[in-house]
Symmetry: C2
Subunit: 363 residues, 2 copies
């Protein structure tokens, strides 16, 4: 193997793929990245056996070849080099990396030992705008569970329903759903949330379409020169739609920044009670007030002007309120519920394509 690449391209590619390489696993080679010439390009790939990311960059290839090297060292090293051309050449599993002023040798492990993700055979394929997917993921992934004992809920469901393409996640305490787009496809993919966190990082600097290809076991996202493959989670996702209330006894519209501030301040006095705060919708005066009490340290009441329809009280986890409010993009938020035992809805006051549901706490 003998080739030239630019420091900028190689550093960016290593940044995208290296996070997947894991040095704490049982298989040491998984902490390496695979470098491999493919026609006149260099592919840089890493995998943790669940997720694989491959980034292709332009390259002047003199001799074809492949090698794996430690991901973290390679990333730290290349990102420290000055911008410009880098020469890579392989001599007996040692990767020689050189520029004008820097000469380095990194000991590699033969590429033959590197695991390959199975190919997606005869699957479906569709496209979605990168920006739409990115916004949707940012709004929804937060509600997925990190509890590996409930694998279904560590996934994010991308599915079609009555001509719409939806993305949804729930950890059973809260639920977030976004209508992404229209679709004519029949889609139902349960994708690990951590794979979508990696996808979000890749989407960070791409504004073009994302090509999605999937079969029953895997899904492939192609974003420009980057490909992310992940296994799908098997099993039947809960029928979440019946959890989302449609009519409400109490509802308030207020400035999102006000809602964030009064929740943050109240949460300081809710540390003893695991974040529990009590929200009061009042029509006279028209305001939303949040109250929290900590027997040891003190108590707090904070309020904000609001348009209120129907007085009501509900107790929620303040962290979940903040997560929901951070997922909204508009200036005004709506909070709506039916009594203190029913699910509480937090939405944007104007955009109706995003729904965030929080289950109440006992008060």
């Amino acid at each position: 193997m003998k080739l030239q690449v630019t420091q900028e391209n190689l550093s960016k590619a290593l940044g995208h793929v290296s996070r997947v390489a894991n040095s704490r696993g049982t298989l040491p080679i998984l902490s390496n990245v695979l470098l491999k010439t493919v026609d006149n390009r260099l592919s840089i790939a890493a995998t943790n056996l669940d997720i694989a990311i491959t980034h292709y960059i332009g390259s002047k290839v003199a001799i074809e070849g492949a090698i794996t090297v430690p991901a973290r060292l390679m990333q730290d090293f290349v990102s420290s080099l000055p911008s410009g051309v880098i020469d890579l050449s392989l001599k007996e599993n040692k990767l020689h990396i050189s520029t004008d002023k820097y000469q380095s040798i990194i000991n590699g492990v033969t590429a033959e030992d590197f695991p390959v993700m199975p190919a997606i055979a005869g699957g479906k394929q569709w496209k979605i705008a990168g920006k739409t997917l990115k916004t949707g993921l940012q709004q929804v992934v937060v509600a997925a569970s990190s509890d590996e004992a409930r694998p279904l809920l560590t996934g994010v469901l991308v599915h079609s329903h009555e001509g719409g393409l939806y993305i949804v996640a729930t950890d059973s305490y809260r639920l977030a759903e976004k209508r992404l787009d229209t679709t004519k496809q029949e889609v139902s993919l349960l994708i690990p949330a951590n794979a979508l966190q990696d996808l979000l990082r890749i989407l960070g600097d791409e504004d073009s379409d994302v090509v999605v290809t999937h079969d029953d076991q895997q899904v492939l996202f192609k974003v420009g020169d980057v490909e992310l493959v992940t296994r799908l989670i098997e099993g039947k996702y809960p029928d979440y739609r019946k959890l989302i209330p449609k009519t409400f006894a109490s509802s308030a519209i207020l400035k999102r920044v006000d809602f964030v501030n009064i929740t943050k301040v109240s949460s300081l006095f809710a540390r003893e009670s695991a974040g529990s705060v009590t929200i009061n919708l009042e029509t006279e005066p028209a305001q939303v007030s949040i109250r929290s009490i900590a027997s040891q340290i003190g108590e707090n009441t904070a309020s904000a002007n609001a348009e209120v329809t129907g007085d009501g009280v509900i107790t929620l986890n303040s962290r979940y309120i903040l997560d929901a409010l951070n997922a909204l993009n508009g200036d005004e938020a709506t909070i709506s519920f039916n009594g203190k035992l029913e699910p509480c809805l937090i939405t944007d006051a104007k955009a109706k394509d995003y729904t965030h549901v929080i289950m109440p706490l006992k008060s």
Copy 2:
């Protein structure tokens, strides 16, 4: 106690003093801040018995008084409030804090239990420009030891010598000295480095003179409306001047940013050897090159153009080189030494008031 302050002033004062309050100590009240009316001002104070910081802010005082409240809660709470006027009033050791939209009660502990630092009696007093002190501290504190088993070296020495005021720190592996100013005083203060870290934070936004008052046990720094008192370390500081070489067999001048870059890259290959890298000063071609070898992972050589006087080789800890280079302010750095067993000097190529010495490693 009943008074009004602005959120901006109170939040800034709590930011300055709260870091000293420690919730992990044996004396619970030390995790509190003391709020106390003093004429038409409010003093906000915290102490860990070694260091005490007091910040005075303007206040409309209706009823005099004092109370202590948990520092972290108070700081988090006040910094979350909107800017504007805050009402504080005390009812039976409960501090009521209110604004238009926020009402809070924080349970306090009587101010009588709060420890008071002894006053400085009949000490010396002198002034120094805040900016001069700040730059000097930033350049020198890094070399102080954090090893409590060697208390002398956890201090920073501020002392007069032949009409100059100097500040110096060493952990016995490296030493940093800065000439701050001229002085007619006889000064010799050994000040805990962590107290000076706190002073640096306070100096962050002050450009005026700092008034320094000291007796044999304590030193007081007065920066605008903030006072920091710290105990002094007892004992005789080592006679460090004899460690600083005056003439050199090998010396090189190079761009500081180049020196930083080649050191950083080399340090990646020096993890196995605890940061040890070998520096080569060469006259033909005129360059400084740094070499590091890790038997497991590989090796690296990085070089930069330099003006070199006298070839030479020395092995140093790469972290210490980076600390020294970060402490310089100019564009060009000088490295000088006498063979590989003698102390190595790193200085600015132009400014001669700052000296950084690093002891070599065995190679």
